[in-house]
């Protein structure tokens, strides 16, 4: 018995002891009917080959380890970015338990959201009664200022009509007639969480701008000097949105962040649970129609929202998750052009510091090969930054990327001498990535927490950037946008590079050379 009260062993050490190891070996041999060890080894090796890669890439139906989630997750993420807004997902309740868990595991924060808890009878008769009761309960219990409705695939398959249901619910007195209940259909079998973000945000803006589902007059646009900014689905929303606000303030620009969830996913521990915190006020959401322009930081998160805004007479500008020097330059110059304000010296200084840092460390990143996976805009932004560093983003894979994204990525690669051997892989998953890493190895992998399985299998060191990050804490609190954000990304990449060099040179008596104290 290894366990002791003095030095409590938990799962890390406990099961490595001889008693447990013997027990597990016995279990396997006697009862598991295990595969022949040589056969396991043979298949393991075969799965690394170009032949396996070819079969793997020929898959048409099976998805293994995708890097995408479903629409309603994005809808919930966008909805909580509005003041005192309760997301209400119409359909099965288990889905909501999943979204809440998923967001909480990433942000280490509460995630509030309700469901209309539809079951078999609702599948047969429709979910109208669930909507009527659900809205009344949520309204009374959680006292929101707005309830933003989206759907699970169940409600979509049976064809529930949100517009009609909400109207009926109001007639039945579930919520006051003038209470804001914007909605969006968010079928899980179309697109991904970034699509859901787009649909939900568009639904909310449409609600405020276009007459609240026929219950109010449409807003007449009276252009002002403000700029709207949309962050998109972003695991770094807390750090990024705060950085963007700082930049707006430094430049003296009047702005509205749409779907600003930077506070609700970062509330203090001070004795009070804030179910709602911060967020775009409903007034600002409505008045956003008057803005001079709207900037989206993520094109693929706003494919429907931006044209909708453009139709209301605003200029719209889309970026692809700007990270690094040039992308931030372009972002700031766009702000300057639209607002007529100069870029202050302070930001030029920050730029200079990022360039300084990149120059200092360039030798360690230059020529390194990377694989990246994640949401389409994130992939683009990170790949562009790597190219600036003289690194090569050899494999860039996005499960929720499409053909247009692929084309845009290839154009980016074509624009840099470091992009010549790089490829974009739309609509592929992490099992495809596994084959890529075995057959065309790279030095580092950039991705979310699930990349740790790829790191273990292929030995490619993982730099955790993306969503979700479950197994490292607090990264979402620091920005990756702006020059300061670029600095954070640079440091993250460099730390891993140096750690790897040290790890490969740390055997005393064998690799004492190269284990340098100054790098």
């Amino acid at each position: 018995m290894a366990q002791s009260a003095e030095h409590v062993l938990d799962h890390f050490e406990l099961f490595r002891g001889p008693e447990y190891q013997q027990m597990l070996a016995n279990k396997k041999k006697m009862f598991e009917n295990p595969r022949d060890a040589a056969e396991v080894e043979r298949i393991r090796e075969w799965a690394k080959t170009p032949e396996y890669r070819e079969k793997n890439f020929a898959r048409e139906a099976l998805t293994v380890n995708p890097a995408k989630a479903c629409q309603p997750l994005g809808a919930v993420f966008a909805s909580v970015g509005f003041e005192a807004t309760l997301p209400f997902v119409h359909g099965s309740q288990g889905c909501v338990a999943y979204y809440r868990s998923h967001l909480s595991r990433h942000f280490k924060e509460p995630s509030s959201c309700v469901s209309s808890s539809m079951t078999e009878d609702a599948a047969v008769f429709g979910g109208l009664n669930n909507m009527i009761d659900g809205l009344a309960n949520s309204y009374n219990m959680y006292k929101p200022k707005m309830i933003a409705v989206s759907t699970t695939c169940m409600a979509e398959v049976i064809g529930d009509d949100l517009n009609a249901f909400i109207k009926t619910s109001k007639e039945k007195g579930s919520v006051p007639a003038d209470f804001d209940v914007p909605f969006a259909h968010t079928p899980a079998f179309v697109g991904s969480h970034v699509t859901g973000y787009d649909n939900a945000l568009k639904g909310i803006l449409e609600h405020f701008w276009d007459g609240k589902a026929g219950t109010a007059a449409k807003l007449e646009r009276a252009p002002n000097k403000k700029i709207n900014l949309i962050g998109g689905f972003d695991g770094y929303t807390v750090g990024n949105i705060r950085e963007i606000k700082r930049i707006f303030e430094l430049m003296g620009i009047q702005y509205t962040i749409l779907a600003d969830n930077s506070d609700v996913f970062d509330t203090p521990t001070d004795g009070e649970f804030r179910m709602y915190d911060g967020g775009t006020t409903l007034e600002d959401a409505a008045n956003a129609v008057h803005a001079k322009a709207t900037i989206s930081m993520q094109q693929w998160c706003t494919e429907k929202t931006l044209p909708f805004i453009a139709d209301h007479g605003q200029e719209v500008v889309a970026f692809n998750y700007p990270v690094g020097v040039s992308a931030t330059d372009e972002f700031l110059m766009a702000l300057s052009r639209i607002s007529g304000k100069d870029i202050p010296e302070g930001l030029a200084r920050e730029r200079g510091r990022l360039v300084d840092a990149m120059a200092d460390s360039s030798a360690h990143v230059h020529g390194k090969k990377f694989a990246i996976y994640g949401d389409p805009d994130l992939c683009y932004g990170l790949a562009a930054f790597l190219l600036e560093l003289g690194a090569e983003p050899i494999h860039v894979l996005s499960t929720n990327g499409n053909k247009a994204w692929e084309k845009k990525m290839q154009a980016l690669f074509g624009s840099s001498p470091f992009g010549q051997n790089c490829h974009a892989y739309p609509a592929r998953d992490l099992w495809h990535m596994r084959s890529l890493l075995f057959t065309e190895p790279v030095d580092f992998l950039i991705g979310n927490t699930y990349g740790k399985y790829l790191e273990r299998d292929t030995g490619t060191p993982l730099i955790r950037i993306g969503f979700p990050i479950f197994d490292r804490h607090h990264h979402h609190r620091s920005p990756v946008w702006g020059y300061q954000g670029g600095m954070n990304v640079l440091v993250k990449i460099l730390d891993k590079i140096f750690d790897e060099i040290d790890k490969k040179t740390n055997i005393a008596g064998k690799t004492d050379y190269s284990f340098d104290i100054i790098r």
Partner: protein, 500 residues
């Protein structure tokens, strides 16, 4: 924050009753009437906890519950390591449940073991419109080609499958035949079925019965020579290694564990279980169905046990030994004696730090009652508990064996109710899930996740008890809870004097 020792049971009961009345006020009348049936103050001597359970959750209230898919894929089937479990339908369900339950296993992941992979048919609009059976056929073919060492496949239905009329049973039969009798199990665990995870457990149990047991020929030769001491562990999901720290005790007392359901389990173990002499059942809620079936069909008795905390472990070891001869009974005593010094040391170290502390629980499966003994071993008191998806038989067991007079009982608690209860009762610790964790920590209340063991564990068995005690101490006695108030906000403002 602990209960004042002067508070009498009558006072606690009165306060709890008042609390219930208070939370009900927030609801519209119809909802208040329904929720009132799920909340109660336990009266000693009653046969159950006096609450309704296993009823539909009310729309819009923020239930903590999940769905049938979560009960089948997430709980029962997912941990069977050498089979591939297809999340059949859109991408989300499989994604959110990917690797989050910490069902430990040993194997070569992606080659002969598949627990931490996310296999999905990733339904698109055309699959909804034209049906997904053809896609499923292709998914199975591609699995066979790329993962040739899988020992079987299960199809875990997501909501759309049952709504669009797919015939996954027909596909399973046809593909099984085509692949030489391969075990392919269709599971009708669509998320809209039933009221919670619970129906998913039942459906998953039935799928084992119909698609695994019924396939095994009764005359087929067992892989091993049977012994009179063969038992199967049923209803342990090996979260953080729980089943392992349980198995070691059963083996030390002289029993032979021939199967684990389903943590670190394999298809061969499921198939061999009808050869067991006794099924020992930990999570009654999720696996009583298959235990009853094996009793009826194969005459295998089953016995519930509880491996949380030394008092219940001792009771359970003796209870299990009671089904066997003296050799095993002596073995049980030997095991109890062997671990007693560890138990004494753990209690000596942690009990003084935890004595008198109060706990409120809200969990699923067996834990709302099973862990109470472990807290009591440490001198702590559970003052409120409830089940996410329990049935009346769970509340009977809770009332008759576990809770004290005056305990606050809340079935399928809503977010609102749980917050208000904790706010008023101010326990020293809350044990619940990830969705609740940060809510209570923000309020300054220490918290442990009692689904995932907060990424620690195991908590089962003697080895697990030491970890459990350490973790509860770490949560409650963390210095951070003294820092939640800014010091300048604690200072009482000087009162103005009349002359000022």
């Amino acid at each position: 924050m602990s209960l004042a020792p002067t508070q009498s049971i009558a006072e606690i009961k009165a306060r709890n009753k008042e609390l219930i009345q208070e939370v009900l006020k927030v609801y519209p009348e119809k909802t208040a009437k329904r929720r009132a049936k799920h909340l109660n103050v336990h009266e000693v001597g009653k046969s159950d906890c006096g609450v309704k359970s296993n009823l539909k959750s009310i729309p819009g209230v923020m239930t903590i519950r999940g769905c049938a898919y979560a009960g089948s894929k997430g709980v029962v089937w997912g941990p069977i390591k050498d089979m591939i479990h297809i999340s059949h339908g859109p991408v989300g369900c499989g994604q959110y449940s990917w690797g989050s339950r910490r069902n430990y296993y040993v194997g070569t992941t992606g080659i002969d073991s598949f627990v931490t992979l996310q296999f999905t048919s990733d339904f698109q609009e055309k699959d909804i419109v034209f049906g997904g059976d053809k896609k499923l056929v292709k998914v199975i073919d591609e699995i066979q080609e790329l993962f040739p060492l899988n020992n079987g496949i299960t199809i875990q239905s997501e909501c759309p499958i049952g709504l669009i009329g797919d015939d996954i049973e027909a596909v399973s039969r046809a593909k099984s035949k085509e692949y030489g009798g391969k075990t392919i199990v269709p599971v009708r665990c669509e998320g809209f079925r039933g009221v919670s995870q619970s129906l998913g457990h039942h459906i998953a149990n039935d799928a084992v019965r119909d698609w695994v047991f019924d396939k095994v020929m009764p005359e087929s030769k067992p892989m091993f020579e049977p012994t009179p001491y063969d038992v199967a562990i049923i209803g342990d999901y090996n979260i953080g290694g729980d089943a392992w720290s349980s198995r070691i005790l059963l083996e030390e007392m002289g029993l032979r564990v021939i199967a684990q359901w389903s943590g670190d389990g394999s298809l061969a173990e499921l198939e061999a279980t009808p050869k067991a002499k006794l099924n020992v059942l930990h999570c009654y809620r999720s696996m009583n169905y298959i235990s009853r079936h094996m009793e009826e069909k194969f005459g295998i008795p089953w016995c519930e046990y509880n491996f949380f905390g030394p008092a219940k472990i001792v009771e359970s070891l003796r209870k299990i030994a009671g089904y066997f001869d003296d050799k095993i009974k002596e073995g049980a005593e030997r095991v109890i004696a062997k671990y007693q010094p560890l138990v004494d040391a753990v209690i000596a170290k942690y009990r003084p730090r935890l004595e008198g502390k109060s706990v409120m629980l809200f969990v699923g499966g067996l834990r709302p009652r099973h862990v109470i003994g472990a807290y009591e071993d440490l001198g702590m008191e559970v003052v409120g508990t409830g089940y996410e998806f329990g049935h009346n038989d769970d509340y009977q067991r809770t009332a008759q064996h576990y809770v004290k007079d005056g305990t606050l009982i809340y079935d399928d608690v809503t977010g609102y109710e749980f917050e208000r209860f904790v706010e008023k009762v101010r326990p020293d610790l809350v044990g619940s899930g990830i969705k609740e964790k940060y809510v209570f920590q923000k309020m300054g209340v220490p918290f442990r996740q009692m689904h995932s063991w907060d990424y620690s564990g195991p908590y089962h068995g003697y080895d697990g008890f030491a970890i459990f005690a350490r973790d509860m101490d770490m949560a409650i006695n963390s210095p951070i809870w003294k820092k939640t108030k800014a010091p300048w906000k604690d200072v009482p403002k000087p009162k103005l004097l009349a002359a000022e």
